[in-house]
């Protein structure tokens, strides 16, 4: 791995910038699609077919863009950290495969539901189960990445472990946590999308109340488990910057409390923003804990990075697009921002 280090040396800052940017894409994905996935999980517990249809219709104009952030993150990892892409994805074969199946089922259910008449039930379930599976297996991927994996030696080290290496109690737990967190986000999202006098709004209110506590327990559990399981995390959290982590933790608790208050007072947009802040803080803390690892104990971001000239090319070619991409996505979301009272599916 020596040569890769020397090649990238002068470009270390670019590596860091791209790592942050990919983290940003992933975070956007978690925030945006997390709500959509959570709404899907919610729909599993809502047996009214009209309401399920309404939930799907509420994301008709935006789900594709939200999901595409995952593709952007994946593509950018391939572009900027090919050594991680080639080994990490191979290691994650099974959970990624299951995630993809979930995404496929969910995407077609969203599209086909509009056109179906007799088969709407099938697509309702497809949407719900697809969402659940996607959230769970994506959570497993995250936990499995934190565990690291075994690499071969040689100039370009590749994954040389077994297909089931990813599965441990910890990665299973992160999958569960992801489902609960998404479920909370989904409830908050639905409340912001529907008129206050709709049935969905009421159901989502009860739902967010319950999910709030579940999510609190799940996230606490993950933090504690991470602390005791991973030396790299423990050493960071009790290292010289311990106060920053404590501070972040404190702000998260405060934001959670504010979210709860906003939610109780039916300030739904505010609740959504507080939840967003919580994700941002958690994700930021996770990135800070990880640094300089891309995959803890396995690849640092410098090992995994693209050789210098490619990274520069990628940066020059792409950084200008990021704000533009954000701008038109924001515009699209803005057009579809209003609350829904009544609406229609493409019937017939």
């Amino acid at each position: 791995m020596e040569h890769i280090m020397t090649i990238t040396h002068p470009y270390q800052w670019l590596t860091v910038v791209w790592w942050l940017l990919i983290g940003f894409f992933l975070m956007l994905y978690i925030i945006l699609d997390g709500s959509d996935l959570g709404a899907g999980i919610f729909s599993l517990f809502d047996s009214n077919s009209n309401e399920r249809g309404a939930i799907m219709a509420s994301m008709a104009g935006t789900w594709d863009a939200n999901e595409t952030w995952l593709v952007v993150a994946g593509g950018s990892i391939f572009g900027t950290f090919p050594l991680a892409y080639g080994s990490l994805f191979h290691y994650l074969m099974i959970p990624l495969m299951v995630t993809l199946w979930g995404i496929i089922v969910r995407a077609v259910s969203l599209e086909f539901h509009h056109h179906a008449k007799r088969s709407t039930k099938l697509w309702d379930w497809g949407f719900g189960i697809g969402s659940l599976v996607t959230a769970f297996s994506a959570g497993v991927c995250l936990g499995a990445t934190m565990q690291g994996f075994s690499l071969s030696s040689g100039p370009v080290p590749t994954f040389n472990g077994g297909a089931m290496d990813f599965l441990t109690p910890f990665s299973f737990w992160t999958g569960v946590t992801a489902v609960i967190a998404a479920a909370l986000a989904g409830g908050v999202y639905l409340r912001a999308r529907f008129d206050r006098d709709t049935v969905i709004y009421r159901k989502a209110m009860v739902w967010t109340d319950r999910m709030f506590y579940l999510a609190l327990i799940a996230i606490m559990g993950t933090v504690v488990w991470t602390f005791f399981k991973f030396p790299w995390a423990m050493s960071k959290w009790i290292g010289p910057y311990w106060w920053a982590f404590i501070l972040t933790g404190a702000i998260v608790v405060f934001a959670a409390w504010e979210m709860r208050r906003a939610s109780r007072q039916q300030r739904d947009m505010a609740a959504m923003l507080w939840l967003g802040l919580i994700v941002v803080l958690n994700f930021g803390a996770m990135m800070a804990t990880l640094y300089p690892w891309f995959v803890p104990g396995t690849l640092t971001i410098y090992d995994a990075a693209n050789p210098s000239n490619s990274l520069t090319a990628f940066a020059l070619a792409m950084t200008g697009f990021v704000p533009v991409m954000l701008a038109y996505n924001f515009y699209q979301a803005w057009v579809f921002r209003a609350r829904l009272a009544e609406f229609s599916a493409y019937g017939h």
Partner: protein
């Protein structure tokens, strides 16, 4: 269970299946998006409601296809790393960059406008809507361009050198504008237009055939078939250029596509025969039987009466691609291309004779039936074209530089089989679903009652009112108690 050849072949099969099930959607997306832009412009120019209804009708088909493309496409993005990890690592500095460019400049670009295009009717101004449609068409073409950059570089990897197991880029320009790209991309772009136009033609012909809004659908039938009069021959011309590019840069692939084993005949003269049909025998290194046309091969590849075209015998056995599949796949594609051109010319002839009207064509049901069924031909051409291309590149994953066996992830056979079975099930679900709903939308026909969305100003921004205006069924969500 570790059998390296079986493992490799399974990984190839896994990858081949998912690409095969993805490639049937994006080209139609590209072609149909361009067509939607055309018909929307027509509507705004002529102010004729029929163009509006046609646009909305084909847009429904577009949406189904788009959803299927996204569902199968996300798999593609992830599967390079999963199935071909070492290849992804080695080629990452170039190949990964290009796919990264694609996601940022094309997918995200497209995703940012597609919602506006489909659900924005009446919520944004007409101009803004047209702009959204334009961007969808443009960005989907950009996506095809980047994908073709990546794939054609695997065919003719210029502008890089291999160092410590990584492909490092010496010249971005040379690597992006590699020889195969310069003809491969136009060929793919035209294929996309061709599939889009034949799709529109097929659906329109069915409507005329059933005489359901026959007059209205004559507009799209005429527009698409007349465009094909230019597009279909152009595709054959560009295909020929592509074949010559392959002949120049990857003679082994060309020889496999043509089932061409011997450079010279037994009497020492150049073997210029082009095989129409043949049964290749790879073990013996010759064809068991063949029917060929003398001089055709030289004419096709060199545009000369007599020239030498390298036969497979000149390559080491371990460097020879499989022959049977590229040979027949290539012929099927060419036949499909030829047929499509003939159909377009027939349409031109009918138009010239003044018989290209709804009544005129209804008196010629065979022509309409032919157009309906020929909509399947571009699909077949696209499949067989890619199979030719990918299989004839073997045994290389990056031609001349990296073997497929060096690029494959070391996976367990069980995992590969699980993958295959899973994606067969899910991709078939997508495929069957997509065609079922295509059929349903077509049977239902265009919505002729809905009011045309004229004044965006009157409609409250941000409500999902469009469909109400369209008189689609409306679900009321109100408190039950």
């Amino acid at each position: 269970m570790t059998d390296p050849t079986l493992m490799l072949d399974l990984a190839r099969l896994d990858f081949a299946w998912i690409t095969t099930m993805h490639i049937i959607y994006p080209p139609l997306t590209i072609g149909l998006a361009a067509f939607l832009f055309y018909s929307e412009v027509k509507w705004l120019r002529t102010n004729n409601d029929e163009w509006y209804r046609l646009t909305r009708f084909f847009e429904k088909l577009f949406v189904i296809n788009f959803g299927a493309g996204v569902a199968t496409g996300i798999t593609m993005e992830m599967s390079f790393g999963i199935l071909f990890g070492p290849f992804s690592q080695a080629a990452g500095p170039f190949f990964g960059n290009i796919l990264g460019y694609e996601t940022i400049t094309a997918f995200m670009y497209e995703a940012g406008f597609i919602g506006l295009m489909i659900f924005g009717w009446g919520k944004i101004s007409k101009k803004m809507h047209l702009f959204a449609t334009f961007n969808v068409a443009f960005s989907s073409m950009l996506s095809a361009m980047w994908i073709l950059v990546a794939n054609s570089w695997m065919q003719t990897p210029t502008g890089v050198h291999l160092e410590n197991g990584l492909f490092l880029v010496d010249s971005w320009k040379a690597a992006i504008l590699n020889p195969n790209f310069l003809t491969g991309f136009p060929h793919m772009a035209i294929a996309s237009f061709e599939i889009g136009l034949f799709f529109v033609a097929g659906v329109s012909a069915w409507m005329v055939f059933k005489n359901r809004n026959g007059k209205m659908f004559m507009r799209t039938l005429t527009a698409s078939l007349m465009a094909l009069v230019i597009v279909a021959p152009l595709q054959i011309y560009v295909g020929d250029e592509l074949g010559r590019t392959v002949a120049e840069h990857d003679p082994a692939a060309l020889a496999a596509m043509e089932g061409h084993w011997h450079t010279y005949n037994k009497d020492g003269t150049p073997n210029t025969s082009w095989n129409v049909i043949a049964w290749p025998n790879e073990a013996k290194g010759t064809n068991d039987f063949q029917i060929g046309i003398p001089h055709m091969l030289s004419l096709l590849e060199d545009h000369k009466w007599v020239s030498t075209v390298k036969g497979l015998e000149e390559f080491k056995i371990e460097d020879r691609p499989p022959v049977l599949l590229p040979f027949y796949a290539f012929r099927i594609m060419v036949a499909a291309g030829g047929l499509l051109m003939l159909i377009a010319f027939w349409a031109l002839y009918l138009k010239y004779r003044g018989q290209f009207t709804a009544e005129g064509l209804q008196r010629r049901p065979w022509f309409l039936r032919l157009v309906i069924f020929s909509a399947i031909l571009p699909y077949i051409a696209i499949w067989t074209g890619w199979w030719t291309r990918e299989v004839a590149r073997q045994p290389w994953i990056v031609h001349g530089l990296m073997r497929t066996s060096e690029g494959v992830s070391q996976m367990s056979i069980t995992a590969e089989i699980v993958w295959f079975v899973g994606f067969v099930v899910f991709d078939l679900l997508v495929w069957v679903g997509a065609w079922y709903f295509f059929a349903k939308v077509v049977r239902h026909g265009p919505d002729m009652q809905a009011e045309v969305v004229h004044q965006s100003e009157n409609i409250p921004v941000g409500s999902l009112m469009t469909d109400k205006i369209d008189h689609h069924e409306t679900i009321l969500i109100r408190p039950t108690a």
